[in-house]
């Protein structure tokens, strides 16, 4: 396949040259950080979602919500390392169906975050210890948990859906 202009541009950047120059140690390092980041995201957001879904109800949602900044921290690590992966080997990601599904599930998870904070956060935040969350909040957190796991699945499957060419 012919190289598109956007890909040629990415390959002309200093960041691309940096990733490719230091790839032997930079790639394993970034992959490790990416796995740590996903664990932090899944561990904190996952426990919050499970609380809303009915686990550990004696924890007030407002209290366990305070773990979320650590999940956001994990997400930021993964966006940054993800950018390095993409800039280093743009063709291996762009022409990869698993990557396209991953981006779609990231968009779903992101939209779902906005829906949660605009439509459910207020009532969830006010719930005392022991209270069951309303159905609407449970549906949204169920989608959250499902979409983040789907992002992980697509990410892990990337390597099995690589395009049959290298630019």
């Amino acid at each position: 396949m012919e190289m598109a202009a956007w890909e040629a541009f990415i390959r002309s950047t200093a960041l691309h040259v940096f990733v490719r120059t230091y790839e032997p140690w930079l790639w394993p390092l970034c992959e490790t950080l990416h796995y740590l980041g996903l664990s932090l995201l899944l561990g904190t957001v996952g426990l919050f979602d499970l609380r809303i879904l009915g686990f550990a109800k004696s924890i007030p949602p407002e209290a366990i919500h305070r773990l979320i900044p650590w999940g956001i921290g994990g997400y930021v690590v993964n966006i940054l390392t993800g950018i390095l992966f993409f800039v280093g080997h743009p063709d291996q990601y762009f022409y990869n169906d698993a990557f396209r599904f991953k981006v779609a599930f990231m968009a779903l998870a992101g939209i779902n975050v906005l829906v949660f904070y605009s439509a459910a956060f207020r009532e969830v935040h006010a719930l005392p210890a022991g209270a069951d969350a309303p159905l609407r909040a449970k549906v949204i957190t169920g989608i959250s948990l499902g979409s983040w796991v789907a992002v992980l699945i697509c990410g892990r499957l990337l390597t099995f859906f690589r395009p049959p060419f290298f630019h």
Partner: protein
Amino acid sequence: MDPFLGWIESSALASWVRGETIGTEFVFPVIVTLHTIGMGFLAGGSAAIDLRILGVAPSIPLKPMRRFLPVLWLAFAVNAVSGFLLLSAYPTKALTNPVFYIKVCLIALAVWLVYRVTAVVLRAPDVDQKPVDAKAKVLAAASLASWVALITAGRLLAYTHKWEMLGIPSLT
């Protein structure tokens, strides 16, 4: 090659995990993916509990954090089964790599620390009546560190097995 490892490697189970038969190509990606999901919930969930013990989100009562442990132990079960299947598929690759033995030790340490944090901190009858003590914080910090080391070792397996191919002496 070691005859015992060769026997495992040539077994029907190992071949199935490697997806060598037409129609079973999905098996290896599925097992690897389950192993990663399990890692996320086990390491991440344990890390969240550790962070709370270390002072993050102090308004979370510690006692009910126990309710999340079945999720962590389920994730551990998924990873133990998927891990043994992956090991059966490529025993020589794993067992000739020193990093694999480091990973196994770190699994034992990290899982033992989940048990200790549960027994010593979360199950203490007065856990939410007094401030978290130094021993609890040491356990939580050790647990966090062991997850970071374990995930690092696991990820490096994909690279370090090449040491053998590069002629660097291996253990067996």
